[in-house]
Amino acid sequence: MRPNFERLSAVLFLEEPPDRVPFYDLFADPEVVEAITGEHLIAGPYLGSIHSAKVALKGDQKAIRAIRHDIGVQIKFYYKLGYDYVPLSIPTPFPRTNILLADDTALLRRSKRAWQNEYKGMIETREDFENYQWPDPMDIQEVFLFLYDVAVKELPKGMMIIPLTPGGVLENVMWLMGTVPFAKALYRDPILIRKMFEKVGETLSFYCKVCAECEMVGAMTMGDDMGFRSGPMLSPEKLREYVFPWQKRCVENVHKHGKPFILHSCGNLKIVMNDLINYVGIDAKHSFEDVAYPVTEYKELFGDRIAILGGVDMDKLSRMPIDQFKDYVKGIIRKCAPGGGYALGCGNSVANYIKLENYLVMLEIGKKYGRYPLR
């Protein structure tokens, strides 16, 4: 079956897709892309931050060739596996050094895995805030439009682009401040907190506007992890005060162009789902985990109001024996696909620790067992 973005578009508008259940994943780890395509990704060193990308694009031919190469490889990956879009993201506009490195134990391991330092922030005080090198929105626009133009030239017929925000509203604030300093500042320095959300929110909503204006952009995704297994990381009141208004502005900037907005957010968010649907205005929710917030439950509770995407559990993708896994994936299709509004995919992302065998069989089942009644 050829790529046809209408499959995913129909799902995001809560319709049945024209032929089979489409695939949706937030992104695939570079190691997986390399394993599937047999090609190496080489542009990483030039894409550390918006600033370094902008410098590279100002005439470093080696960097430009590397970026073109990598976008081509990414498109090849998504096309080959049967996706109808390619995700496109920019380097972070909020670079930080408060990260910890550890050995990676994944099946397709990378040299080091990065973790957030929860106890230390780049910005812990108002002075840090003033000294931080905040991004120039024009740099963000310039870098995105360059990547977009490269992608459009390579894009196979029928595919579209789904840009991904470089982190979300809450994520970027918590990453920059560190979890513990952020939690303290929530009560000790609400002015700093407000300023942080304004800076991050303005930047991301501007980015959403730039992306949504582009013709070959079919939808927009924001990844903004807001919770853990039992609930959100902030109280609903704090989310309503600081986070949702900025997410809403991002959604509005995308809806202005008639395009749907996908929210990827890990965590059990049942307590704030009505806020996300009615106030923020999301069109689709992505990220599910069977032990705490299973996709089948969210489909039943919210599937008549928003599209439900992915949800094939990461633990089962990583460890379940293949025969059992096949039945498990069929079970998800059986519960989520009837009536449309559902796209098949991983519960979180195509991470380098999942079994490729399971991932590929999930897509094969989607292509065969995920076919809709013929019209």
Partner: protein, 96 residues
């Protein structure tokens, strides 16, 4: 982006006929009559209201079904743009 409105409804009943076709994998797809109770336009046209005369009206449409999950009733179904046009013109039996 093409924006063609599509009516949606809830599947009330599925009548399987004996007529079938086989696909490239040897699966049999049976011709079925779906009886659908209309309720709204899809989210593609969020501001459009279904005409009152069509609300809760039942239409008969054809679908070819193969897998167990295709036979679920009580679920939402989306009419094609052509089916939507026919229904808006007043045709409620689209099986002929």
């Amino acid at each position: 982006m093409v924006c063609v409105r599509r009516i949606q409804g809830i599947v009330q009943e599925i009548i399987r006929t004996d007529e079938f076709k086989e696909d490239e994998d040897g699966n049999k797809w049976y011709k079925c009559i779906f009886i659908v109770k209309l309720d709204r336009f899809s989210k593609r046209t969020p501001n459009e209201e279904l005409p009152a005369r069509l609300k809760n009206e039942k239409v008969r449409i054809v679908r070819w079904c193969c897998f167990d999950w295709h036979y679920k009733t009580g679920i939402r179904i989306t009419l094609t743009p052509n089916e939507t046009k026919a229904v808006l013109e007043g045709r409620l039996d689209l099986t002929r």
